[in-house]
């Protein structure tokens, strides 16, 4: 039994609560959309039977061969069974940013300046990674 001393801090609990809900939501969505994908209810951008021809390629070649979207381009294709799965993947990948945004006001209220700065910097770093602005050169 946790005593008052050993209890997790308010921001830690808040982070955990958001993480818990978001993780289950994202995971459930990912599994559901995957079954939609393999069941063929929605057409796929890359037909499932053809996929083995392409997954041996480097990602750059894959993108060129299929004119596959990069960055947030997938969002225009969520009507396709394969890209529908990206909603769940994006939720799982974006969840940490949301958790940081939730604890920021708590840290600010506690006047924990160092951690406010760290949390803001982390949000910026993760947002930059998520933005699609970072490009990797072709091969």
């Amino acid at each position: 039994m946790a005593s008052e001393k050993t209890k997790a801090s308010e921001e830690q609990i808040a982070y955990a609560n958001v993480l818990n809900i978001g993780m289950w939501f994202g995971l459930a969505l990912l599994v559901i959309t995957f079954f939609v994908y393999i069941s063929g209810v929605l057409p796929s951008y890359v037909p499932i039977n053809d996929l083995p021809k392409y997954w041996t390629m480097r990602v750059h070649d894959f993108n060129v061969a299929l004119n596959a979207p990069t960055g947030w381009g997938w969002a225009s294709f969520v009507g396709k069974g394969d890209y529908l799965n990206f909603i769940g993947i994006a939720i799982l990948s974006g969840l940490t940013i949301l958790c940081y945004l939730v604890i920021l006001p708590i840290l600010a209220r506690k006047k924990d300046r160092a951690y406010v700065v760290i949390a803001i910097a982390e949000v910026l770093v993760l947002s930059l990674a998520a933005s699609g602005l970072l490009k990797v050169g072709g091969h």
Binding site: N49, A65, V136, H139
Partner: protein, 338 residues
């Protein structure tokens, strides 16, 4: 009995990965990827599949099924061996499945991320994962992971495989020789950790006491997380194998705090690298979802077996498996074992 069971597991996993590679599908020379799978692609030039990347003749569904079975077993072994799923996933799937290493690394990051996200809430609520310890470290590691992911996606597959193989063999050495300390002695917390208030208190049920902890050598620890972050992003590995020794042995955090904070940390580090892979298109749901579900279900079973298993025997089996996968990756990269 338990040992026999463990040997059976290792046999099954090795048999599965070996069958999954050359056995499941008679591979054939890759025909040029002619035409396009989608009307949207009509304007794009056809790119032939790399000659070093054979195309599978097996029906598509064999692969997600094989992935599910292999990752289910890996999930069990990961829990029993005390390692993250990502570190087993990338070399084994990269070495024995037909997928390009780019997609394997993207999936590896998401597998490690999902495991960390699933474990995070419980660890945070029980105050075993410390947000005060994790946040400064995560900022360094996640920034470095972006750089690592960009480097990794720019490198040629043979270079990635060679470096991955060497890294896995290095991890094997760490696992074999590194000692762990339940309650490291921290004589004097350093100034940076004091300024950031990196300290805590948790209930250690095994001794029935509240344990106060703090850390030292924080600047050195943070510097090492630059390297760890780059490697995590470059190879798509969860970095628990490196996080725990740095947090525990170098910075002096108790073992439970180190393990839990490391797991939580992966949810942040892997997020940044995962976005880079996702934005570059290096994420295929057909690889990600069966792997993710397989490894999570395997982990649940692994936790149940853990109570009866002999951890030491399993640790050595996991080391053996990693050694095998690391050698495979190294030799594949060097063109010796294609």
């Amino acid at each position: 009995m338990t040992q026999r069971l463990s040997f059976l597991f290792i046999f099954i996993v090795i048999a599965s990965v070996l069958c999954a590679g050359p056995g499941f599908a008679a591979t054939e020379s890759a025909p040029a990827a002619q035409g396009h799978a989608d009307p949207h692609a009509s304007a794009a030039p056809a790119v032939p599949a790399s000659p070093e990347a054979p195309t599978s003749a097996a029906p598509w569904w064999i692969w997600p099924l094989a992935l599910f079975i292999v990752t289910f077993i890996l999930g069990i072994l990961a829990v029993l061996g005390g390692v993250g799923g990502g570190v087993l996933f990338v070399p084994i799937v990269g070495g024995f499945f037909p997928f390009n290493i780019d997609f394997v690394r993207g999936a590896g990051l998401l597998v490690a991320l999902a495991g960390a996200l699933a474990a995070g809430p419980g660890l945070l609520k029980r105050n075993l994962a410390s947000i005060r310890l994790a946040l400064p470290v995560a900022l360094i590691a996640s920034s470095a992971a972006i750089v690592g992911a960009m480097i990794g996606l720019a490198l040629k597959p043979n270079v990635v495989n060679t470096l991955l193989g060497a890294t896995i063999l290095f991890i094997v050495a760490i696992m074999a020789i590194a000692k762990k300390s339940d309650f490291p002695h921290v004589e004097q917390p350093d100034k940076l950790s004091q300024a950031l208030g990196i300290m805590g208190i948790y209930r250690e049920e095994s001794i029935g006491k509240d344990v106060e902890w703090n850390v030292h050598k924080t600047p050195t620890g943070l510097a090492l997380f630059v390297v760890i972050g780059v490697m995590a992003g470059m190879f798509g590995l969860g970095a628990g194998w490196a996080n725990v020794p740095v947090l525990n042995l170098l910075m002096g955090a108790p073992l439970k705090i180190s393990v839990a904070t490391s797991k939580f940390l992966l949810s942040i580090t892997d997020t940044s690298a995962a976005w880079v892979y996702l934005n570059q298109g290096a994420v295929l749901p057909m690889i990600v979802v069966p792997s993710l579900v397989g490894i999570m279900l395997g982990s649940i079973i692994g936790v149940k077996i853990l109570a009866k298993a002999k951890p030491k025997a399993i640790k050595w089996m996991v080391i053996g498996l990693l050694l095998f996968a690391g050698l495979r990756s190294l030799l594949k990269g060097l063109g010796i074992w294609k």
